[in-house]
């Protein structure tokens, strides 16, 4: 895998482009391999591949490589994911939903209800992201740099359960739109809206998997050793 051409990874799944961007990588790879690109950009190739693999395969778990990753590089990646959500994907979904409501000639209440649910969901998600940025990541960074535990911090355990609620609501949102909305909307805008919603769901599930399967086990073992 490290000797695969970088471009073949994208060719096999173009949805990985934003994932690459989070490592600071953009197109123009020519025929360079994953290993070459990673070395040029000071990225740990094992970590890069682990992220790609978690994205492609829900059941993937990099047990063997885990110890070679730095929690700091994981945090850096997760932060870049947050920026992608907050600065691009969520605003994009917002705009599409607004557009969808604007185009809806019959002024149906359905879409407004959905919008309300979405706004509420987004608020929860944003506060979850804030919490990670303000509480969890600084804790992890401190643990790595000072090899000490902030005594007042409840530990990494406390933040695992948060995910499920956000995931449940996203799934509800999808079902409400797919199953129960009146078909008097603009089809192209709606399709684009739904495509983005699915993309977001896939990405955020992957984001949670990285936290639950890579970051949390690492931090738990660090907590034990300090």
């Amino acid at each position: 895998m490290p000797n695969d051409k970088m471009i073949s990874i994208i060719r096999s799944n173009y949805e990985l482009l934003p994932v690459l961007n989070r490592f600071g990588l953009k197109l123009g790879f020519k025929d360079k391999t994953v290993k070459e690109i990673c070395e040029e950009n000071y990225i740990n190739p094992d970590f890069f591949l682990a992220i790609i693999n978690t994205y492609n395969n829900k059941k993937y778990f990099p047990e063997k490589e885990l110890s070679s990753f730095s929690p700091l590089e994981i945090v850096k990646y997760l932060k870049a994911t947050h920026i992608y959500y907050l600065e691009y994907l969520l605003p994009r979904i917002d705009d599409l939903l607004k557009e969808l409501i604007r185009q809806n000639e019959s002024k149906s209440q359905d879409l407004k209800m959905i919008e309300m649910f979405y706004r509420n969901y987004k608020q929860e998600l944003v506060s979850h992201i804030r919490e990670e940025e303000e509480m969890v990541f600084p804790y992890v960074i401190d643990l790595v740099q000072n090899k000490s535990k902030i005594s007042s911090h409840p530990g990494i355990h406390a933040f695992e359960k948060e995910h499920s609620n956000v995931e449940i609501k996203l799934n509800d949102l999808k079902n409400l739109i797919l199953k129960y909305v009146n078909p008097d909307y603009d089809q192209n805008t709606c399709n684009e809206f739904i495509t983005n919603l699915f993309r977001f769901e896939k990405d955020i599930m992957d984001h949670s998997r990285i936290e639950d399967k890579i970051l949390i086990p690492m931090v738990l073992s660090m907590e034990k050793s300090v």
Binding site: M116, N165, K169, L173, N175, Y180, V181
Partner: protein
Amino acid sequence: MKGRILILHESSIVAEGLAAIIHKYYDIDIQTLKSSGDFDVQRSSGEVRMIIASNELTDEVYGLLQRFKTKRQIPVIAVIDGSEEINNKLTFDHSFNIKTSEQNIQEICSKYLNIGSVETNNKEGILLSVREKDVLKLVASGLSNKQIAQKLFISVHTVISHRKHITEKTGIKSVSGLTIYAILNKLIDTEAYNIESGL
């Protein structure tokens, strides 16, 4: 999907190939083992729902399969390499060979995994019962399970059971999602109900 499928075969091509085909259709955990010695009941999570095993049974594998079949009534499907007869030491429920089509594999799996009766998804699309609608209306108006129980003169346990069915049928789990569902389906009156505060 809950539970897992066990594939016991010495050939990786057979085991991984079958696993890949089944994964195309079902999101279920599949464990592939080269020999029954690798099987560890304690370690594995989720109950075994189906076993696919090589037709060439060693005594060890035979013992394991026998236990699964007789004690736990788990379906066992044989993989036949060539033209040989099905091993009659154990009654297999079905068999696969190299010519079995993908569609056939899928059909057999759904038959023995009992999909259609066990999965919750199949309840999707069934209309809510009158009682479930009553419960849903109260959930949507922000009442707790206990309050709903008191209001409808039923036990909390029954409320929980209704709520489970509502979620299975609608595909919606959160209270705020159910509220929107109730409004979209005109089960509650938006005029009489302050939606903003309920969410």
